[in-house]
């Protein structure tokens, strides 16, 4: 008789979620679903607010990637104003976004995923965390904290505070980079570059050990979506959005303002998160992935020497591997390296100290679509406004929603490989979670949670009754 296994909630991801696994009459998994159980009511809340307040408001949606929301929101505002930004403003926004990508990836890799990678999927759960990592490799743990601190310091230098800086505004930014912060960043660059190179070498060394996880943690062909620069270079702030097939064929390359022609949105009754798909292929065949792995699959080069060297090695492993979601970790590290090199490259640009950083205007367009790459993938803010600039309608398309189909397919793949009955051992639980963590989903675009999330596994019978329960606090 069919039964469901419920893992609720998933730990060490940003926000709240659970996993359910549907078993067939023989007790074998047929399908698994990743549920987001927190309702996001923000879009409704934005209606009636002035669009020029939106960057500061939407930045408070998420404590992990506020700069990305700021940037996408301000870019939508730029279009409503109908202005051309001063070059200095664009450079400063780019700097903030690289810092954002860097600090978010550092959190994901060093603190959320490294315990799984370094201590092993079957290690004692009481030790498979940041403290276990500190015990096993204290230097790596400290370096990870300092790497994240580096990104946060840049954001703080620009925004005044590292979380929720109301610094990016429609038309530009509020102020330039202070000299003393520039010096601090310059001094810290060699250390963070070395930390990242060490982490990349470490991850490459682990790939053989995790060959099975690489094959099972979401390895399947899908399209990938991300921004690219004019010459196909890795891009996080501007450019065209490019869809590429699993074999590397470019399927579409268009201005992000046309996102609705290419991205469909679907609500499922079992999750509060929207699911998106490539509209020309329909649902669910239009599955695609976004984020670090996708960005490295859609671009032709990283555009900086060290990152390009790693990019070549990454792609040298073949299309089969670059479609494996486990390699999100690898791609994340290469993006940290690219961000460091980009920051290094722009630091001495005199525009970073320019006084010409904001264009002023009134409402000149009734609608704007702002798009940038958030750490977890391409992000869209779409606003429609009244003549007075009040939001009539807002639509936010976040990366985690765009990875939803792929995350569901990933947990299904893992469940089919490892779950063989009612008993779900610790190591399998963690593999299911780790499969999701590879995407680094951010569900905190929802709520602030208090307290530690335990892991609850429930086996639910066909009548909805709990037939077995296992809890990990």
């Amino acid at each position: 008789m069919p039964e469901r296994i419920v893992i609720d909630p998933v730990t060490r991801i940003e926000g709240h979620a659970k996993i359910t696994i549907q078993l067939d009459d023989g007790g074998l998994p047929t399908e698994a679903r990743f549920h987001v159980t927190e309702f996001r009511g923000f879009e409704k809340m934005f209606e009636g607010r002035p669009f020029w307040e939106m960057p500061a408001i939407t930045a408070r949606v998420c404590g992990i990637c506020p700069v990305s929301h700021l940037t996408a929101s301000a870019k939508a505002g730029d279009q409503i104003l109908g202005v051309r930004l001063p070059p200095a403003a664009v450079k400063l926004r780019r700097l903030a976004n690289w810092a954002q990508v860097l600090q978010s990836h550092a959190l994901s890799f060093f603190h959320l995923s490294s315990p799984d990678l370094l201590l092993g999927m079957d290690s004692d759960p009481a030790k498979r965390n940041i403290f276990g990592l500190i015990a096993a490799n204290p230097e790596l743990a400290r370096a990870g904290i300092r790497l994240r601190q580096f990104g946060q310091r840049i954001i703080a230098a620009l925004g005044g505070q590292s979380i929720h800086p109301a610094w990016v505004v429609p038309g530009g930014v509020r102020h330039s980079l202070p000299d003393e912060d520039k010096t601090w960043v310059r001094d810290r660059l060699p250390e963070v570059r070395q930390t990242t190179l060490t982490a990349i070498d470490m991850f490459k060394g682990l790939l053989d050990k995790f060959r099975e996880e690489t094959d099972v943690f979401g390895k399947f062909p899908t399209m990938h979506l991300g921004l690219i620069g004019p010459d196909g270079t890795w891009e996080t702030y501007d450019g065209a959005m490019r869809f590429r097939d699993a074999d590397g064929t470019t399927v579409a390359e268009v201005d992000p303002v046309r996102y609705r022609e290419f991205i469909g949105e679907k609500a499922e009754s079992w999750s509060y998160i929207k699911t998106t798909f490539f509209r020309p292929r329909g649902y669910p065949d239009g599955i695609y992935r976004v984020g670090p792995l996708a960005r490295l699959n859609v671009c032709d080069r990283m555009g900086t020497p060290l990152a390009d060297k790693e990019f070549a090695e990454f792609h040298g492993r073949g299309r089969d591997l670059t479609n494996a979601s486990f390699l999100f970790h690898y791609a994340r590290l290469i993006e940290i390296l690219a961000s460091i090199e980009r920051i290094d490259g722009i630091l001495d640009d005199p525009d970073l100290q320019s006084a010409h950083i904001r264009a002023e205007a009134g409402v000149n367009n009734p609608e704007g679509v702002g798009c940038c790459e958030a750490p977890r993938g391409i992000l869209f803010h779409h606003y429609q406004v009244t003549d007075d600039g009040l939001i009539r309608k807002a639509n936010l398309l976040i990366a985690t929603a765009q990875n939803n189909l792929a995350m569901n397919r990933t947990v299904t793949q893992i469940a089919k490989r490892y779950v063989t009955g009612r008993d779900v051992p610790e190591g399998i639980l963690n593999r299911l979670e780790a499969g999701i963590r590879a995407f680094d989903p951010c569900l905190s675009c929802s709520t602030h949670a208090a307290g530690q999330m335990p892991l609850l596994v429930r086996l639910i019978g066909p009548g909805g009754e709990v037939v077995a329960e296992r809890r990990r606090d």
Binding site: R60, A141, Q149
Partner: protein
């Protein structure tokens, strides 16, 4: 002159009274007391461990669902724990600080009862009243540290 005290108010200000921690911390910051550093954050993240390591006393301020209007309890490290999720807690961060930097400050958690955690910008009347009491509690902890 007060000792080096760090006040961290955390919570999501778009979830109504969950913004109590940031609101109280912001009020403390406005006092401009020397030797007092204030951080207003959405959530507790690992790099805050470095700020903890530099402080003699840390006061975390967080919202609570119901219960006493204001509580202040001393917190300790724990043998092990998972600090790294959206739900990182003060004890986890304190433990991380000790593990990474080999030192921990005297740490307190001030909780402030909220009444409405819906999608909203701003505090409920109950929360505003509790915030005033919480600020007094935080100020007392700062003064006490300066006398220690």
């Amino acid at each position: 002159m007060p000792a080096d005290v760090l006040v961290i108010g955390y919570g999501n200000t778009l979830r109504g009274d969950d913004g109590l921690g940031p609101a109280v911390a912001a009020d403390v910051a406005r006092l401009g007391w020397p030797g007092v550093r204030v951080k207003v954050v959405h959530q507790l993240t690992p790099e805050l461990a470095a700020d903890l390591a530099d402080a003699r006393r840390v006061v975390f301020v967080d919202a609570a669902i119901g219960g006493e209007p204001v509580t202040a309890v001393r917190i300790e490290t724990r043998p092990a724990g998972d600090v790294m999720s959206h739900a990182a807690d003060p004890r986890g961060l304190l433990t991380l600080c000790g593990a990474v930097y080999g030192t921990t400050p005297d740490a307190w958690l001030v909780t402030v009862a909220g009444a409405d955690f819906d999608f909203r910008d701003g505090l409920s009347p109950t929360a505003r009243e509790n915030a005033r009491a919480a600020q007094s509690s935080v100020e007392a902890l700062i003064r006490e540290a300066s006398c220690a």
